[in-house]
Subunit: 367 residues, 2 copies
């Protein structure tokens, strides 16, 4: 009785998870977190109109979602002043990253990212046999000039660049990015992950010509719109490029209630504006808490803040462990020198007060 | 300004869709269907407890779903008398089919299915460069002995077998299937798609040893549980085989409300039992309607019925077109000889009455 014959690539892959979920940590601790501030979620939550739309859609869940996500795609096209042919909706940016890598990367192909940037992208590149080249962060930000130089050097098919960045919260102006597009090497695609863009200052979104086939941008309803658990993201780009997703995507992969929720969320501009205010206030609160204890919060254009704990990764990890032990879920960057920081999500003042208390306690313990 | 460099495989693929959704047809007609009976959905819908669970989860959608689907996976393990390590939860069977093909099939590898069986499986095989070998249906059923013979002949890594079958609704006893497992060639996996199993007669589910690495079974909340739009499916099999999905699956791909809904649906055995009764009654109603007009409904172990229109595909298509023009959405099999039939979903009597009226009208028109 023999077993499955895996592909050579599948045999070579580890059974890894990009992140361990907070629920797994809660099960290990046998109690829930008092404050869930680690998973880059938007605790202020979605528009009440989005919630109502999802509730209403629940009884119609016997129907498959529209495989074209027609209504949402058209609304997004209007929102961005492009055509529906410039947009593909998918199962979160995570899902779309998988599709994009699959379209471009075969075994041995070069891909470029920053050392310490989004691990799920790296997971997909490994999963399709790509060779990942990493460029260091520069001043706690992803370094686009260095990424493009590296791309030319290794003949990369794809470059990952997040703006704003995760895990540091840094950002570049859209004009600065557009000024560098002619440095994209021939046959290379620049992927701009704009997951946090709704929470960034005006002018951060790169005003890329939608017909430029060298760039693809990804956005999500997980962050600014507060719907991480719905799994709705989209990619914007040149029409032929976008159409190529039709070759491989899971056409009936979208949750029908999530489609309805995203559409309602998009239409509720007031709620997004309120969220922007709340997130900005929470960033200030977190910065104040950090300063109170002599730690330095990094400027952030996202719904999280990285706090420089002022020493090495071991020290940051001991703070993180102390917070987790006290029921405050936070995470930290994976690599040096970013891993001198811990990272926590913005949230209501009660959650941040729990962080404040726990941090005081942890720092006292650590001395 | 050059564009993306696609993989050779991506370049070779067409931008096809396995199915056109009913919404696209409605947009083309500029009006909604009066009866949505074509998409293999369960119109009786999910358990009210599942609806309530999804409604409740809507306000918590700011949280990502548990990447381990821990609670659902454990409940499924209890339900089936296996361990959680024997189960992987995914974005519907469609999503899991993609992962399975990706794990096993690389360019040029042989895969076997039935001619006219589930097109989304074929889509995934093409999408990963597999070479698909098709075996004809036998007596309107997928022919497991012939599939396994073909698998040995072409050294297949994977065989697709649906029980009950879509689009014909036929089925084999689980004992009959298990008796053939020793005919699975070395290094070949038999995938049993049991999407409709909850609606089939007792004894249809193959009592496969969960530790047998030659077989993997897939199930879904889309059919019997009436939650197609939620996108929750699962695969059951030997623990190492199941663990291999961890290498490539989208760990954070599950909709959080869908996880909660599926868990509640699984626990509501009474609703499933009611659904089974309603589906059986609807099958009888459809059979009666067909007989009234001299057409023959095929026996079905699913929530749809194939109706043999008694002539060729052109005739069946003209009936289908007539029904669609009258606002009754149905589909038909893709290949001969199955395409002498139309196929419609079970549903409440009002929907079936609309079908009845429309069919009478269409047949009168066709003469």
């Amino acid at each position: 009785m023999t077993g499955p014959r895996y592909t050579k690539l599948a045999q070579s892959l580890p059974a890894t998870v990009p992140f361990v979920g907070p629920e797994a940590q809660e099960r290990a601790m046998s109690r829930p977190f008092a404050a869930r501030l680690g998973a880059n979620e938007n605790i202020f939550g979605p528009s009440p109109k989005a919630i109502a739309a999802m509730e209403q859609a629940a009884s119609g869940i016997w129907m498959y979602g529209d495989p074209e996500s027609h209504d949402l795609r058209h609304a997004l096209a209007d929102h961005h002043g492009v055509t529906p042919q410039n947009i593909v909706v998918g199962e979160g940016i995570d899902g779309l990253l998988g599709y994009l890598v699959r379209l471009l990367v075969e075994q041995g192909d070069s891909v470029v990212t920053s050392d310490g940037a989004y691990p799920t992208f790296n997971y997909h590149v490994a999963g399709f046999g790509g060779v990942l080249h990493k460029v260091p962060y520069h001043d706690d930000a992803e370094d686009l000039p260095a990424l493009l130089t590296k791309a030319a050097e290794v003949d990369a098919k794809l470059v990952y660049f997040a703006n704003p960045d995760n895990p540091m919260g840094s950002w570049r102006s859209g004009a600065d990015i557009v000024a560098q597009l002619d440095n994209i090497p021939d046959g290379c695609v620049l992927l701009i992950d704009e997951a946090y863009i709704e929470l960034a200052p005006e002018g951060t979104a790169a005003p890329v010509d939608i017909n430029d086939p060298r760039v693809i941008r990804m956005r999500t309803f997980s962050k600014g719109y507060g719907m991480a658990g719905a799994r709705v993201g989209y990619a914007m780009g040149e029409a032929d490029f976008i159409r190529s997703f039709e070759k491989i995507r899971n056409h009936f992969g979208m949750n029908r209630a999530a489609q309805a929720g995203a559409l309602a969320a998009l239409k509720d501009a007031d709620w997004l504006a309120e969220t922007q205010v709340k997130v900005a206030e929470a960033r200030d609160t977190i910065t104040g808490i950090a300063a109170k204890f002599g730690l330095k919060a990094l400027p952030s254009a996202t719904n999280f803040v990285a706090i420089d704990c002022g020493r090495d990764a071991t020290y940051a990890k001991s703070i993180l462990d102390g917070l987790v032990a006290r029921g405050v879920f936070v995470r930290m960057p994976f690599v040096e020198p970013q891993n001198r920081c811990i990272r926590l999500s913005c949230g209501p003042s009660e959650a941040l007060a729990l962080f404040d208390e726990a941090l005081e306690d942890v720092l006292a313990e650590l001395g």
